[in-house]
């Protein structure tokens, strides 16, 4: 038997290229981190500036666009931090307290179906009143709009994860006597991390739509135009400038790609280590940026003390002193009494709200208002249904065809995800331009805009479903020579159904939201309206008619919630039950 091989054929010369690579890696890491810090700093300075020092008008020069894009990105980041904070507190509270859970989760359910753009007028008025002299108020309103488009979803994911922590991991944590604080950082947050990261990414992709819409709003006499891509497009619309719209689209494309590469991909790759499955995944997510940061010694040098401090915070035994605990338990009412009190409180609150609504509602709203809202609601409902069906008929066959071919999937899946993230409202001006140019009927042709941005959710979910379709079932279908009708009906469609339902829920939900900006649009001074609940809300907002905005938003929320409860949830449960094998 030959001992250690002595020849060195195939051993690469390492020294020269190795060190160059290392240096360039250090530089890349340094530039990445420093660049991000500076960008955040610039954007934040603008946000806190007094109104007076803000540029009065939005410049349509392409040179101004990078700055605007940066501001838009910073808003997204701020909203992301707020959503994360909300998630970690709200969802934890709901998961830990049975009593709180009974209120918090239904509330979250309702909040999820309230159209974000509907109450933008309220929040804008509220936040501007908070900081009247500074841009901060308007900034907060925009950030809040993005926040509401992300936070509910993220909180749900975190809550679900906390509720499904495997009993053995929880018991292990308790048996080594970790405090609640330690368990939270050592077990619960890491366990929830992959799902949370995924949901954050999905919510974020929806967020671009809202940031664009929230940057330029006018409620009655109040006009807000925050420097950003959204207000740039609004200005371009007012100036009939299609070229500028094109610039904005290019800038947004770059922004979304940067976010994906610099923020989410590294986080997804990093969060992969928190997956609980014991078996190694065949394909774990990779990120070049993360690799650069992780391997850089410089970043390690700066990051290490930070990491150690964070670890120390997570490990700290934050507990109530036993004396205090004794007092609180002595003071605390017995379980049944506390429960009863809690319900009385909820009932009282709910009763008061209904009372207010009836009292003020009957005084403010006439029969005509209710009819108008009802008719418009029906129009929009019809649009959402027809468009969801149409989008499904187009994208399900295409999605299946793509998903069954790995080579196409590798190309099409990121594209579909990008298209879903891309704020479709940037494309509206083109559509409006054509509708005006060719005198098309707005009530029909404007409808398409509702699903322009959200149809991609159907596509990429169906692609995901088809590419996850088990190989043995594919082979069985081929070996049994199933005829096309039966292949679709009994082999393929039931297999992708859960994925399709997920996509369709998102697409339909997004369409409701989009109706507010797509049913009534303008080009320069020309206004085009296709009717519907979205147009109703948009027109009331422009008029600053708060009670009727509220009426419209409430009607929309009610419709969306009912659809969720009556249609989507049963459908989803059915899909899940049917495709489960174990």
């Amino acid at each position: 038997m030959s001992p250690v091989p002595s020849h060195r054929a195939g051993v690469l010369p390492l020294t020269a290229s190795g060190t160059t690579r290392e240096v360039s890696r250090e530089v890349a890491a340094f530039v990445l981190v420093l660049g991000s810090l500076i960008a955040v700093g610039i954007a934040a300075r603008g946000m806190l500036a007094p109104i007076g020092s803000m540029p009065l008008a939005i410049s349509l020069s392409p040179a101004a666009l990078p700055g605007y894009t940066l501001r838009t990105i910073a808003r997204m980041l701020a909203a992301l931090c707020a959503s994360l904070l909300f998630t970690l507190t709200y969802a934890t509270w709901a998961a830990k307290s049975r009593r709180a859970e009974r209120v918090l989760i239904p509330v979250l359910d309702v909040l999820q179906s309230v159209p974000v753009l509907g109450y933008l007028s309220f929040t804008a008025a509220f936040f501007v009143a908070l900081a009247p002299r500074r841009a901060l108020g308007a900034e907060l309103a925009a950030i809040f709009a993005i926040f509401t488009s992300q936070a509910w979803n993220m909180a749900f994911s975190f809550y679900q994860a906390l509720k499904t922590i495997p009993a053995d991991l929880d018991e292990a944590s308790r048996s080594v006597r970790q405090s609640a604080w330690q368990r939270f950082w050592r077990l619960e947050v890491p366990f929830a991390m992959p799902g949370l990261v995924w949901n954050t990414m999905m919510s974020m992709s929806g967020g671009w739509f809202f940031v664009v819409a929230a940057e330029a709003i006018s409620v009655g006499s109040m006009q807000i135009a925050l420097p950003g891509v959204g207000s740039y497009v609004a200005a371009a619309i007012a100036a009939h400038d299609l070229t500028a719209v094109g610039y904005a689209i290019a800038a947004m494309t770059v922004a979304i790609l940067l976010y994906d590469r610099l923020l989410f991909r590294p986080i997804v790759a990093w969060a992969d280590k928190f997956r609980v499955e014991q078996t190694a995944a065949s394909e774990s997510p990779r990120s070049r940026v993360l690799e650069i940061l992780e391997r850089s010694r410089l970043i390690g040098l700066i990051g290490e003390p930070l990491k150690r401090t964070l670890a120390r915070v997570a490990c700290a035994r934050v507990t109530f002193p036993s004396a205090a605990r004794g007092v609180t338990s002595w003071l605390a009412p017995p379980e049944w009494l506390a429960g009863a009190l809690w319900y009385v409180l909820i009932a009282a609150g709910g009763g008061f709200a209904v009372w207010e609504l009836v009292l003020h509602g009957s005084a403010t709203f006439s029969r005509d208002d209710l009819t108008a809202v009802g008719v418009n609601g029906a129009i929009t409902l019809l649009r959402v249904i027809v468009l969801t069906v149409l989008a499904s008929l187009i994208w399900v066959p295409i999605g299946v065809a793509v998903g069954l071919r790995p080579r196409w999937t590798a190309f099409a899946q990121p594209l579909a995800q990008f298209l879903a993230a891309f704020p479709a409202n940037l494309l509206f001006p083109f559509a409006v331009f054509f509708i005006l140019r060719f005198h098309l009927k707005p009530a029909i042709w404007l409808s398409g805009l509702m699903i322009l941005g959200t149809q991609w959710y159907i596509l990429f979910n169906v692609i995901a479903g088809a590419s996850a379709y088990p190989t043995d079932l594919k082979e069985a279908a081929a070996s049994l020579r199933l005829r096309p009708g039966r292949w679709w009906r009994e082999a393929m469609l039931p297999g992708i159904f859960p994925y399709y339902v997920t996509g369709a829920i998102t697409a339909a939900g997004g369409a409701w939201n989009a109706s507010i900006v797509s049913e009534a649009v303008s080009w320069g001074a020309t206004k085009v309206s296709g009717g519907g609940l979205g147009a109703y809300i948009a027109e009331r907002t422009l008029a600053g008619d708060f009670p009727r905005i509220a009426l419209g938003v409430a009607t929309m929320s009610l419709t969306v919630t009912s659809l969720n409860v009556l249609l989507w949830q049963p459908l989803y449960r059915f899909a899940e039950r049917r495709t489960r094998l174990g």
């Binding site: 091989p5 190795g18 088990p470 082979e475 049994l480 020579r481």
Partner: protein, 440 residues
């Protein structure tokens, strides 16, 4: 070659004829990877033909070529006198993973097997029910697969394949996902149907890695050697059904196949050692604890340091697929020697078995670095580099010139486990880099 003593008449024309079949898969880098080379195979009328080989020997690929699910890159498949163009009438398949549609009931799953025949509704129902009865599933027609045990699920798989009265039945390790008892019952039931003349099927091609299963069921066995897959031996089994595992003739055949397999294995190892100083030797998927557990068993008084593989497999209730990698691992590390269907611990192997924890590690490390050239190679690269680390990708690429991607990955996974135990090097899975243990 004689077939068995069952009632099926011997007809010279084969049911399916694979001629000079080659299969190669394209690779991202370099030349396509050959999985099968020049396979000649014919299933004759009235026989059960077994395809026996280790995982990765391409036997499942071969079965899929016979099913028309894959096209060979070269060679031809003749079925009923014409080239096979795709899945066709008269050929049915049973899957290792059952491949049942979870959203369809047992009856609906079985009826899918008749879809291509475009029968009237009634006739379809009648035939499906008959197949369900035949395979012993009556009463379960309206059940969903998730409500059934593994054995019952595979019965549905059999019913779905048999319902169309196929001339040729292809079976892809149909019993390997079942527990020992269930598998044995299902095997016996199938053989009863086969020998009882209750099936329209005229021939069976069975893929398996279980030697005893092959000897129990088949009339003829083709042993497949891997890298690229080719037929290494053909063994006839002229035993009448039902066969008895304890029968002398039965055991002689099993031992004979073990000898053939071990001869192929040691030959392959020898050949790999000649290539690139042995650095591209594929390592089997064997964990440290299993390997040392196996070593301890061999060293125990039961075996006294040596034994016939067939006997060891029976004694330790290991399948061939489980036993061979263990034996190969010990052989590679020169802790044991494989010869003619038997294994014998080397002197070092016996010392290691009796050693304490520290000594074990030291001895293992010595053998790893001496007899697994890839381990020595990695260690050397790490020592030569200033940073004392090296990316995994670099070694994986070297391996991929000679092994499939899966084999290369598997080899590195095994080597990482062994190397960690031996404390020969460290590995960071997140950065995917190797490092010397002194670093960090």
């Amino acid at each position: 070659m004689t077939t068995d003593t069952s009632a099926k008449p011997v007809v010279p024309c084969p049911l399916i004829d694979l001629r000079k079949v080659c299969m190669a898969f394209p690779r991202a880098t370099g030349t396509p990877l050959a999985v099968l080379s020049d396979i000649d195979l014919a299933v004759r009328e009235g026989e059960i033909l077994g395809l026996l080989g280790r995982s990765g020997s391409g036997k499942s690929t071969l079965l899929r070529i016979a099913a028309g699910l894959m096209k060979p890159s070269r060679g031809e498949v003749i079925y009923r006198g014409a080239p096979l163009a795709g899945p066709t009438e008269g050929i049915a398949m049973v899957f290792q993973t059952f491949a049942l549609y979870p959203w369809l009931t047992v009856l609906q799953n079985v009826e899918l097997g008749l879809d291509a025949l475009t029968l009237p509704r009634e006739q379809m129902r009648r035939r499906a029910t008959a197949a369900i009865d035949l395979i012993g599933l009556d009463g379960f027609e309206s059940a969903y697969p998730r409500e059934l045990s593994g054995g019952m699920r595979q019965r549905v798989g059999f019913a779905r394949a048999l319902v169309s009265d196929p001339v040729l039945l292809l079976m892809d390790e149909p019993f390997s996902a079942l527990d020992v008892l269930t598998a044995e019952t299902l095997r016996t039931d199938f053989i009863d149907l086969w020998t009882g003349g209750q099936l329209a099927t005229r021939g069976v091609l069975l893929v398996t890695h279980n030697i005893e299963e092959a000897v129990l069921m088949c009339d003829r066995i083709l042993v497949l050697a891997s890298g690229p897959g080719r037929i290494a031996a053909e063994i006839a089994i002229p035993l009448p059904h039902p066969r008895n595992r304890l029968d002398g003739a039965f055991r002689a055949i099993v031992d004979d196949i073990y000898s053939t397999l071990t001869a192929r294995v040691t030959e392959a190892i020898g050949a790999a050692r000649g290539l690139h100083g042995g650095r591209v030797q594929a390592l089997p998927k064997v964990s440290i604890s299993r390997m040392l557990g196996f070593l301890d068993q061999l060293d125990s008084t039961v075996f006294g340091g040596e034994g016939e593989l067939a006997a060891i497999a029976r004694r330790l209730a290991l399948s061939t697929g489980e036993l061979l990698p263990l034996a190969v691992a010990l052989h590679l590390l020169e802790l044991a020697e494989l010869r003619e269907g038997g294994i014998k611990l080397t002197a070092a192997g016996r010392v290691l078995a009796g050693a304490d924890l520290e000594q074990r590690k030291r001895l293992f490390r010595e053998h790893l670095l001496r007899f697994v050239p890839l381990a020595a190679h990695i260690r050397q690269v790490l020592e030569e580099r200033d940073s004392h680390d090296a990316p995994r990708a670099r070694f994986e690429l070297e391996l991929q010139d000679h092994l499939t991607r899966r084999e290369a990955e598997q080899t590195l996974e095994t080597l990482i486990t062994w190397g960690r135990y031996a404390e020969a090097f460290e590995y960071d899975d997140r950065k995917r880099t190797f490092a010397l243990e002194s670093a960090s």
